[in-house]
Subunit: 235 residues, 2 copies
Amino acid sequence: MRIALDAMGGDHAPGEIVRGAVQGALAHPDVTVILVGKQDAINRLLDEDRRPANVRVVHATEEVAMDESPVDAIRKKKDSSLKRAVDLVKGGEAEAAISAGNTGAMVAASTMILRTQPGIQKAGIAAILPTLNGFGVLLDVGANVNAKSLHLYHYALMGTVYARAMFGGDERVSVGLLSIGEEDAKGNELVKETNAIFTQSPLNFVGNVEGGDIFKGKATVVVCEGFVGNVVLKT
Amino acid sequence: MRIALDAMGGDHAPGEIVRGAVQGALAHPDVTVILVGKQDAINRLLDEDRRPANVRVVHATEEVAMDESPVDAIRKKKDSSLKRAVDLVKGGEAEAAISAGNTGAMVAASTMILRTQPGIQKAGIAAILPTLNGFGVLLDVGANVNAKSLHLYHYALMGTVYARAMFGGDERVSVGLLSIGEEDAKGNELVKETNAIFTQSPLNFVGNVEGGDIFKGKATVVVCEGFVGNVVLKT
C-alpha cells in the first residue's frame, strides 16, 4: 500500500510529520509513505533522520493554513501539499491520503477531487473510539453540519463497510443512532425521521443509543450529525 | 428552606429516596424535607429508619411512570407525587421541588404549574459539572430539543444567575457557547445566530467553546441546545 502524507499540515509540521513517516515506514516495510510538501525542507529532515527506502518525496510549493476557508483553499492553491496528496490518490499513485492539517480542506479536497461513492451524497468524518468491547466507529464527527436523514443513512452504510474492513469478525456490524433516549419516539425531528429509515433498511440496526452507550460499545457503528459528533469527540 | 421531594420517582423509589431524605435532613437541620407520595409506604420506611423532626410527609395517591408522556401525565394524573411536589412550591409551602423520576414530566409540571420567569420563553435543564477550576453549569441538557437562538440567550441569562447563586465569587460569570470550533464563523446556523446575539448582549461572553473546554472550565456557564447537551451529559 502507498500512503500520501501531507508533510506540511498539522501542529509542528513538517518536523513531527516527517518523524512519524519515518517511524511508520520502518515499522511497516510493505507500505510506501509518500511525503508531499516542500522538498528541500522534507529532504533536510530526512537527512537528519534515517531515510528508509520506502519513503518517497513529492514536491508541492504551497500550504493550506489552519484558518483558511476549505473550498477557497482547494480552488485557489492548486499546488498545496494537502491537495497534491489527494491528487496522488486520484492519479492512482497512492491508495490513501492523510493530512493532520485543515480538516475542512481535507474533506473539500477529497469530495472535489475523488468524489463520493456512487449514490452517496455527502462525505463524512469517521472517528474510531475505544469501547468496553474493543473499538467502535462514530460518524459524522464534523464534515457536515446540515445533515439530512438520508445523509445519516449513507453514513450508516459507509460506517458498516468501514467497521467490517477495520475490525473484521463474522458477526454483522451493529448500527446505533445517537439520541437522547432509547425509545424511538425520543429525539429531535432529524433523529425520529432517521430512526424510521434505519428501521426499514437492511442495516443491522439496534435502535437509538445514548451518549454513554458509545463507549459501552452497544453498537459498533454510532451515527449522528456532524455538530453533535464533533462535540462528543472533543468532549 | 423547605424542599418538596417526590418520594415515588426514580430507580428504587421510594426506598432509596426516603433513605436519602433522612440523611439529608440529619445533615441539614435547617432544611425541612417534605416527602410527597403514598404516605403508608413512606411512613413504614421512616419507621424503619430514624425519623428526623425535620422530615414531613404529604400524601399523593398517584405516580408518574418513567415512560409516560410528560404532558399527559401532568394533565391526567392530578394527584401524582411529582405534580404534588411542584404544587407545594406553587402554594408557598416549599421553596424547591425535586424528583429523580420522569424528567420530562418534571419539566412539564414546572412549566405548567410554576410558569417561567417573566420574559423567559422555555424552561431548561441545567447540569452542574466538575471542571479543572471547580464547577461549571451546562444547559440545556434536554428540556428543549427545538431551541431557537432566543431560547439559548435566555439559558445564558438563567445560567449566569444560577452560577452566581451557587458558586458566588466576585468575578462576573463567564458564558461560552458550545460549538465545533472557537471561530465565530464555525458551527451550525443556530450557533452562528446565537453567537451574534451573545456578542451584542450584556453577558460576559467569552466566545464559542468546544467539547473539551467544558471540563477545562473555559467558561463557567456553557450554553447549548437540549439534544447536544443531553448527549454530552450522558457521554
